[in-house]
Protein backbone atom coordinates (compact mmCIF):
# COMPACT_ATOMS: atom_id res chain seq x y z
CA UNK A 1 0.00 0.00 0.00
CA UNK A 2 2.77 2.41 0.88
CA UNK A 3 5.91 2.88 -1.13
CA UNK A 4 9.36 1.62 -0.25
CA UNK A 5 10.46 5.04 0.96
CA UNK A 6 7.58 5.36 3.42
CA UNK A 7 8.34 1.94 4.85
CA UNK A 8 12.00 2.77 5.13
CA UNK A 9 11.27 5.99 6.98
CA UNK A 10 8.86 4.22 9.33
CA UNK A 11 11.50 1.61 10.16
CA UNK A 12 14.13 4.29 10.64
CA UNK A 13 11.93 6.31 12.99
CA UNK A 14 11.11 3.18 14.98
CA UNK A 15 14.80 2.45 15.42
CA UNK A 16 15.55 6.02 16.48
CA UNK A 17 12.68 5.96 18.99
CA UNK A 18 13.78 2.68 20.53
CA UNK A 19 17.33 3.92 20.98
CA UNK A 20 16.09 7.22 22.43
CA UNK A 21 13.94 5.36 24.96
CA UNK A 22 16.95 3.24 25.89
CA UNK A 23 19.17 6.29 26.30
CA UNK A 24 16.63 8.06 28.50
CA UNK A 25 16.00 4.92 30.55
CA UNK A 26 19.69 4.35 31.18
CA UNK A 27 20.45 7.95 32.03
CA UNK A 28 17.51 8.13 34.45
CA UNK A 29 18.70 4.87 35.99
CA UNK A 30 22.15 6.36 36.60
CA UNK A 31 20.70 9.60 37.91
CA UNK A 32 18.28 7.80 40.21
CA UNK A 33 19.79 9.32 43.35
CA UNK A 34 19.17 12.81 42.05
CA UNK A 35 15.71 12.12 40.68
CA UNK A 36 14.45 10.80 44.00
CA UNK A 37 13.19 13.76 45.99
CA UNK A 38 13.41 12.23 49.45
CA UNK A 39 14.56 9.08 51.22
CA UNK A 40 12.40 6.92 53.45
CA UNK A 41 13.55 6.04 57.00
CA UNK A 42 14.29 2.51 55.77
CA UNK A 43 16.58 3.84 53.06
CA UNK A 44 18.37 5.94 55.70
CA UNK A 45 18.84 2.83 57.87
CA UNK A 46 20.20 0.87 54.92
CA UNK A 47 22.75 3.53 54.03
CA UNK A 48 26.24 2.31 54.76
CA UNK A 49 27.54 5.60 55.98
CA UNK A 50 25.90 8.91 56.68
CA UNK A 51 27.58 12.22 56.22
CA UNK A 52 26.94 14.75 58.91
CA UNK A 53 26.08 18.25 57.80
CA UNK A 54 25.03 16.96 54.40
CA UNK A 55 21.60 18.21 53.40
CA UNK A 56 19.14 15.34 52.98
CA UNK A 57 15.38 15.01 52.75
CA UNK A 58 13.48 12.35 54.62
CA UNK A 59 9.86 11.56 53.88
CA UNK A 60 7.22 9.42 55.47
CA UNK A 61 4.24 9.53 57.80
CA UNK A 62 4.04 11.40 61.09
CA UNK A 63 3.51 8.74 63.75
CA UNK A 64 0.30 8.91 65.75
CA UNK A 65 0.59 10.73 69.11
CA UNK A 66 4.22 11.55 68.47
CA UNK A 67 4.09 15.32 67.94
CA UNK A 68 5.40 17.14 71.00
CA UNK A 69 5.55 20.93 71.13
CA UNK A 70 8.15 22.69 73.22
CA UNK A 71 8.69 26.39 73.70
CA UNK A 72 10.70 26.98 70.55
CA UNK A 73 10.70 23.71 68.67
CA UNK A 74 8.60 20.66 67.96
CA UNK A 75 9.60 17.04 67.77
CA UNK A 76 7.85 14.15 66.10
CA UNK A 77 8.54 10.64 64.87
CA UNK A 78 8.65 10.06 61.12
CA UNK A 79 7.81 6.53 60.08
CA UNK A 80 7.37 4.42 56.97
CA UNK A 81 5.78 1.67 59.12
CA UNK A 82 9.04 -0.28 59.01
CA UNK A 83 11.60 2.08 60.47
CA UNK A 84 11.36 5.28 62.43
CA UNK A 85 13.37 8.42 62.77
CA UNK A 86 13.14 11.19 65.39
CA UNK A 87 12.84 14.69 63.97
CA UNK A 88 13.18 18.02 65.70
CA UNK A 89 12.23 21.23 63.99
CA UNK A 90 11.79 24.88 64.78
CA UNK A 91 9.99 27.19 62.41
CA UNK A 92 6.66 27.58 60.70
CA UNK A 93 4.75 24.44 59.84
CA UNK A 94 2.46 24.09 56.81
CA UNK A 95 -1.30 23.86 57.32
CA UNK A 96 -1.56 20.24 56.34
CA UNK A 97 1.05 19.04 58.80
CA UNK A 98 -0.66 16.65 61.21
CA UNK A 99 -0.40 13.18 62.68
CA UNK A 100 -0.72 10.19 60.36
CA UNK A 101 -0.19 12.42 57.34
CA UNK A 102 2.67 12.57 54.89
CA UNK A 103 5.59 14.89 55.49
CA UNK A 104 8.94 15.65 53.87
CA UNK A 105 11.60 17.09 56.16
CA UNK A 106 14.72 18.80 54.88
CA UNK A 107 17.76 19.06 57.10
CA UNK A 108 20.74 17.13 58.42
CA UNK A 109 21.13 13.75 60.06
CA UNK A 110 22.80 13.58 63.43
CA UNK A 111 22.77 9.82 63.32
CA UNK A 112 20.53 7.24 61.72
CA UNK A 113 17.76 7.80 64.25
CA UNK A 114 17.96 11.50 64.82
CA UNK A 115 17.22 14.18 62.27
CA UNK A 116 17.36 17.96 62.59
CA UNK A 117 15.01 19.58 60.14
CA UNK A 118 15.24 23.15 58.98
CA UNK A 119 12.31 22.97 56.59
CA UNK A 120 9.13 20.95 56.64
CA UNK A 121 6.85 20.29 53.68
CA UNK A 122 3.47 18.61 53.98
CA UNK A 123 2.90 15.86 51.46
CA UNK A 124 -0.79 15.36 50.85
CA UNK A 125 -2.27 12.17 49.50
CA UNK A 126 -4.36 11.57 46.42
CA UNK A 127 -7.69 11.38 48.25
CA UNK A 128 -10.24 14.13 47.84
CA UNK A 129 -13.60 14.10 49.61
CA UNK A 130 -16.02 16.41 51.39
CA UNK A 131 -15.67 16.64 55.21
CA UNK A 132 -19.01 14.89 55.84
CA UNK A 133 -17.90 11.79 53.95
CA UNK A 134 -14.67 11.68 55.92
CA UNK A 135 -16.57 11.89 59.24
CA UNK A 136 -18.83 9.02 58.29
CA UNK A 137 -15.79 6.99 57.24
CA UNK A 138 -14.17 7.61 60.61
CA UNK A 139 -17.22 6.62 62.62
CA UNK A 140 -17.51 3.27 60.87
Amino acid sequence: MYGKKVKFRAAFILLVLISLVLIIYLSLKTLEDNVVYFLSPTEIQNKEEIKRNEKVRVGGMVKKNSIKSYTNYISFILTDYKNEINVTYSGTIPNLFSEEKGVVAEGTLKDKNYFIANKILAKHDENYMPPKVNNSLDSK
Partner: protein
Protein backbone atom coordinates in the same frame (compact mmCIF):
# COMPACT_ATOMS: atom_id res chain seq x y z
CA UNK B 1 -5.80 6.95 2.18
CA UNK B 2 -4.26 10.35 2.66
CA UNK B 3 -5.84 11.77 -0.49
CA UNK B 4 -8.75 13.31 1.39
CA UNK B 5 -6.49 14.58 4.12
CA UNK B 6 -6.22 18.01 2.58
CA UNK B 7 -6.17 21.46 4.21
CA UNK B 8 -8.63 22.79 1.63
CA UNK B 9 -11.41 20.45 2.72
CA UNK B 10 -10.82 20.96 6.40
CA UNK B 11 -10.86 24.70 5.86
CA UNK B 12 -14.42 24.81 4.58
CA UNK B 13 -15.63 22.42 7.20
CA UNK B 14 -14.33 24.43 10.12
CA UNK B 15 -15.42 27.90 9.05
CA UNK B 16 -19.04 27.29 9.93
CA UNK B 17 -18.74 25.51 13.26
CA UNK B 18 -16.47 28.03 14.97
CA UNK B 19 -19.26 30.23 16.33
CA UNK B 20 -21.29 27.29 17.54
CA UNK B 21 -18.26 25.86 19.29
CA UNK B 22 -17.56 29.16 21.01
CA UNK B 23 -21.15 29.38 22.23
CA UNK B 24 -21.00 25.84 23.65
CA UNK B 25 -17.65 26.61 25.28
CA UNK B 26 -19.02 29.67 27.11
CA UNK B 27 -21.99 27.69 28.45
CA UNK B 28 -19.84 24.77 29.62
CA UNK B 29 -17.30 27.13 31.19
CA UNK B 30 -20.02 28.93 33.17
CA UNK B 31 -21.46 25.63 34.38
CA UNK B 32 -18.00 24.33 35.23
CA UNK B 33 -16.99 27.45 37.14
CA UNK B 34 -20.18 27.57 39.22
CA UNK B 35 -19.83 23.85 39.92
CA UNK B 36 -16.21 24.14 40.97
CA UNK B 37 -16.27 27.47 42.81
CA UNK B 38 -19.63 27.31 44.61
CA UNK B 39 -21.52 24.05 44.40
CA UNK B 40 -18.75 21.50 44.96
CA UNK B 41 -17.86 20.79 48.60
CA UNK B 42 -14.62 21.80 50.26
CA UNK B 43 -12.02 19.12 50.90
CA UNK B 44 -11.85 17.41 54.30
CA UNK B 45 -8.20 18.38 54.68
CA UNK B 46 -7.43 21.24 52.34
CA UNK B 47 -10.79 22.99 52.67
CA UNK B 48 -11.22 25.65 49.98
CA UNK B 49 -7.76 25.52 48.46
CA UNK B 50 -8.80 22.27 46.76
CA UNK B 51 -10.67 24.43 44.24
CA UNK B 52 -7.38 25.24 42.52
CA UNK B 53 -7.43 21.62 41.42
CA UNK B 54 -10.32 22.30 39.02
CA UNK B 55 -8.03 24.53 36.96
CA UNK B 56 -4.69 22.87 37.67
CA UNK B 57 -5.52 19.28 36.78
CA UNK B 58 -7.48 19.87 33.52
CA UNK B 59 -4.80 22.21 32.18
CA UNK B 60 -2.07 19.69 33.02
CA UNK B 61 -4.01 16.91 31.30
CA UNK B 62 -4.64 18.98 28.21
CA UNK B 63 -1.07 20.24 27.87
CA UNK B 64 0.16 16.64 28.17
CA UNK B 65 -2.43 15.34 25.72
CA UNK B 66 -1.67 18.01 23.16
CA UNK B 67 2.05 17.39 23.31
CA UNK B 68 1.56 13.67 22.86
CA UNK B 69 -0.63 14.46 19.88
CA UNK B 70 1.94 16.88 18.43
CA UNK B 71 4.59 14.17 18.80
CA UNK B 72 2.47 11.57 16.99
CA UNK B 73 1.61 14.04 14.21
CA UNK B 74 5.30 14.86 13.80
CA UNK B 75 6.06 11.14 13.55
CA UNK B 76 3.45 10.83 10.80
CA UNK B 77 4.89 13.87 9.07
CA UNK B 78 8.28 12.22 9.05
CA UNK B 79 6.96 8.98 7.65
CA UNK B 80 4.32 10.15 5.16
CA UNK B 81 5.80 13.58 4.30
CA UNK B 82 2.37 15.19 4.33
CA UNK B 83 2.62 18.85 5.24
CA UNK B 84 -0.87 18.88 6.72
CA UNK B 85 0.35 16.89 9.72
CA UNK B 86 2.84 19.54 10.68
CA UNK B 87 0.31 22.31 10.04
CA UNK B 88 -2.07 20.68 12.53
CA UNK B 89 0.74 20.15 15.03
CA UNK B 90 1.89 23.74 14.70
CA UNK B 91 -1.62 25.10 15.25
CA UNK B 92 -2.05 22.95 18.36
CA UNK B 93 1.14 24.07 20.04
CA UNK B 94 0.10 27.52 21.34
CA UNK B 95 -2.87 26.38 23.40
CA UNK B 96 -0.84 23.45 24.72
CA UNK B 97 1.93 25.78 25.83
CA UNK B 98 -0.53 28.16 27.52
CA UNK B 99 -2.15 25.31 29.43
CA UNK B 100 1.28 24.00 30.44
CA UNK B 101 2.15 27.39 31.93
CA UNK B 102 -1.26 27.58 33.64
CA UNK B 103 -0.64 24.15 35.19
CA UNK B 104 2.78 25.21 36.47
CA UNK B 105 1.58 28.54 37.90
CA UNK B 106 -1.58 27.17 39.53
CA UNK B 107 0.44 24.26 40.90
CA UNK B 108 2.81 26.73 42.49
CA UNK B 109 -0.06 28.75 43.96
CA UNK B 110 -1.62 25.54 45.26
CA UNK B 111 1.68 24.28 46.64
CA UNK B 112 2.24 27.18 48.97
CA UNK B 113 -0.79 26.73 51.25
CA UNK B 114 -0.73 22.91 51.14
CA UNK B 115 2.90 21.80 50.95
CA UNK B 116 4.42 24.94 52.41
CA UNK B 117 6.56 25.80 49.39
CA UNK B 118 6.14 27.50 46.03
CA UNK B 119 8.54 25.25 44.18
CA UNK B 120 10.48 22.05 44.66
CA UNK B 121 12.69 20.16 42.25
CA UNK B 122 10.91 16.83 42.48
CA UNK B 123 10.54 14.54 39.49
CA UNK B 124 6.96 15.48 38.57
CA UNK B 125 7.43 19.23 38.73
CA UNK B 126 10.82 19.23 37.04
CA UNK B 127 9.60 17.05 34.17
CA UNK B 128 6.59 19.35 33.77
CA UNK B 129 8.96 22.32 33.54
CA UNK B 130 10.86 20.37 30.91
CA UNK B 131 7.61 19.99 28.96
CA UNK B 132 7.10 23.74 28.96
CA UNK B 133 10.66 24.16 27.64
CA UNK B 134 9.93 21.63 24.89
CA UNK B 135 6.79 23.56 23.99
CA UNK B 136 8.79 26.77 23.87
CA UNK B 137 11.50 25.20 21.70
CA UNK B 138 8.85 23.76 19.38
CA UNK B 139 7.09 27.10 18.94
CA UNK B 140 10.37 28.97 18.53
CA UNK B 141 11.64 26.51 15.94
CA UNK B 142 8.78 27.60 13.69
CA UNK B 143 9.68 31.24 14.15
CA UNK B 144 13.49 31.18 14.17
CA UNK B 145 14.25 29.05 11.12
CA UNK B 146 13.27 30.52 7.80
CA UNK B 147 13.19 27.84 5.18
CA UNK B 148 10.03 25.77 5.28
CA UNK B 149 11.74 22.40 4.97
CA UNK B 150 14.11 23.16 7.84
CA UNK B 151 11.32 24.41 10.06
CA UNK B 152 9.35 21.23 9.59
CA UNK B 153 12.31 18.95 10.18
CA UNK B 154 13.64 20.70 13.26
CA UNK B 155 10.26 21.18 14.91
CA UNK B 156 9.35 17.53 14.25
CA UNK B 157 12.58 16.36 15.85
CA UNK B 158 11.91 18.52 18.92
CA UNK B 159 8.35 17.22 19.16
CA UNK B 160 9.40 13.58 18.85
CA UNK B 161 12.07 13.86 21.53
CA UNK B 162 9.72 15.85 23.75
CA UNK B 163 7.01 13.22 23.31
CA UNK B 164 9.20 10.76 25.21
CA UNK B 165 8.99 13.10 28.19
CA UNK B 166 5.20 12.69 28.37
CA UNK B 167 5.16 9.17 29.88
CA UNK B 168 7.94 10.26 32.23
CA UNK B 169 5.68 13.03 33.54
CA UNK B 170 2.74 10.67 33.85
CA UNK B 171 4.58 7.95 35.74
CA UNK B 172 7.10 10.09 37.63
CA UNK B 173 4.96 9.94 40.77
CA UNK B 174 4.91 6.14 40.65
CA UNK B 175 8.56 5.54 39.78
CA UNK B 176 10.20 7.86 42.28
CA UNK B 177 9.53 9.47 45.63
CA UNK B 178 8.03 12.85 44.84
CA UNK B 179 6.43 15.57 46.88
CA UNK B 180 3.62 15.60 44.34
CA UNK B 181 0.92 13.09 45.26
CA UNK B 182 0.07 10.07 43.13
CA UNK B 183 -2.58 10.03 40.45
CA UNK B 184 -6.08 10.53 41.80
CA UNK B 185 -8.12 9.84 38.70
CA UNK B 186 -7.32 6.40 37.39
CA UNK B 187 -8.61 4.71 34.30
CA UNK B 188 -8.25 1.08 35.30
CA UNK B 189 -9.09 1.24 39.00
CA UNK B 190 -11.33 3.18 41.31
CA UNK B 191 -10.52 6.88 41.47
CA UNK B 192 -9.83 8.27 44.92
CA UNK B 193 -11.97 11.34 44.48
CA UNK B 194 -15.52 11.84 45.66
CA UNK B 195 -18.11 11.98 42.80
CA UNK B 196 -19.22 15.47 43.87
CA UNK B 197 -15.68 16.71 43.16
CA UNK B 198 -15.14 14.54 40.09
CA UNK B 199 -18.04 16.20 38.26
CA UNK B 200 -16.66 19.79 38.17
CA UNK B 201 -13.24 18.37 37.31
CA UNK B 202 -14.67 16.64 34.24
CA UNK B 203 -16.75 19.65 33.19
CA UNK B 204 -13.72 21.92 33.42
CA UNK B 205 -11.69 19.42 31.40
CA UNK B 206 -14.32 19.46 28.65
CA UNK B 207 -14.40 23.29 28.73
CA UNK B 208 -10.61 23.57 28.45
CA UNK B 209 -10.51 20.96 25.69
CA UNK B 210 -13.14 22.92 23.76
CA UNK B 211 -11.16 26.10 24.26
CA UNK B 212 -8.00 24.57 22.83
CA UNK B 213 -10.06 23.15 19.96
CA UNK B 214 -11.34 26.66 19.16
CA UNK B 215 -7.86 28.17 19.31
CA UNK B 216 -6.61 25.29 17.18
CA UNK B 217 -9.23 25.86 14.47
CA UNK B 218 -8.51 29.59 14.38
CA UNK B 219 -4.77 29.05 14.08
CA UNK B 220 -5.17 26.29 11.56
CA UNK B 221 -7.30 28.51 9.37
CA UNK B 222 -4.68 31.24 9.57
CA UNK B 223 -2.01 28.73 8.50
CA UNK B 224 -4.08 27.61 5.50
CA UNK B 225 -4.72 31.22 4.48
CA UNK B 226 -0.97 31.87 4.66
CA UNK B 227 -0.38 28.92 2.34
CA UNK B 228 -3.03 30.12 -0.08
CA UNK B 229 -1.47 33.55 -0.19
CA UNK B 230 1.71 31.93 -1.35
CA UNK B 231 -0.22 30.71 -4.34
CA UNK B 232 -0.24 27.07 -3.47
CA UNK B 233 -3.67 25.68 -4.15
CA UNK B 234 -2.74 22.14 -3.40
CA UNK B 235 -0.03 20.73 -1.23
Amino acid sequence: MLKNFNPNKAFFLTTKILKTLFFIFIIILIIGLTESLWISPEDYKQSHSVRIMYVHVPSAWISLGIFAFIGILSLFNFIFKNKNFSLIAKSLSTSGFVFCIIALVTGSIWGYPTWGTWWVWDARITSMLLLSIFYLMYILSWKVFEKNINQEKISSIIAIIGMLNVPIIKFSVDWWNTLHQNATVKIFSKSSIHPSMMLPLLIMTVAFALFSLIIFIMEYKAEVVKLKNKGLDRL
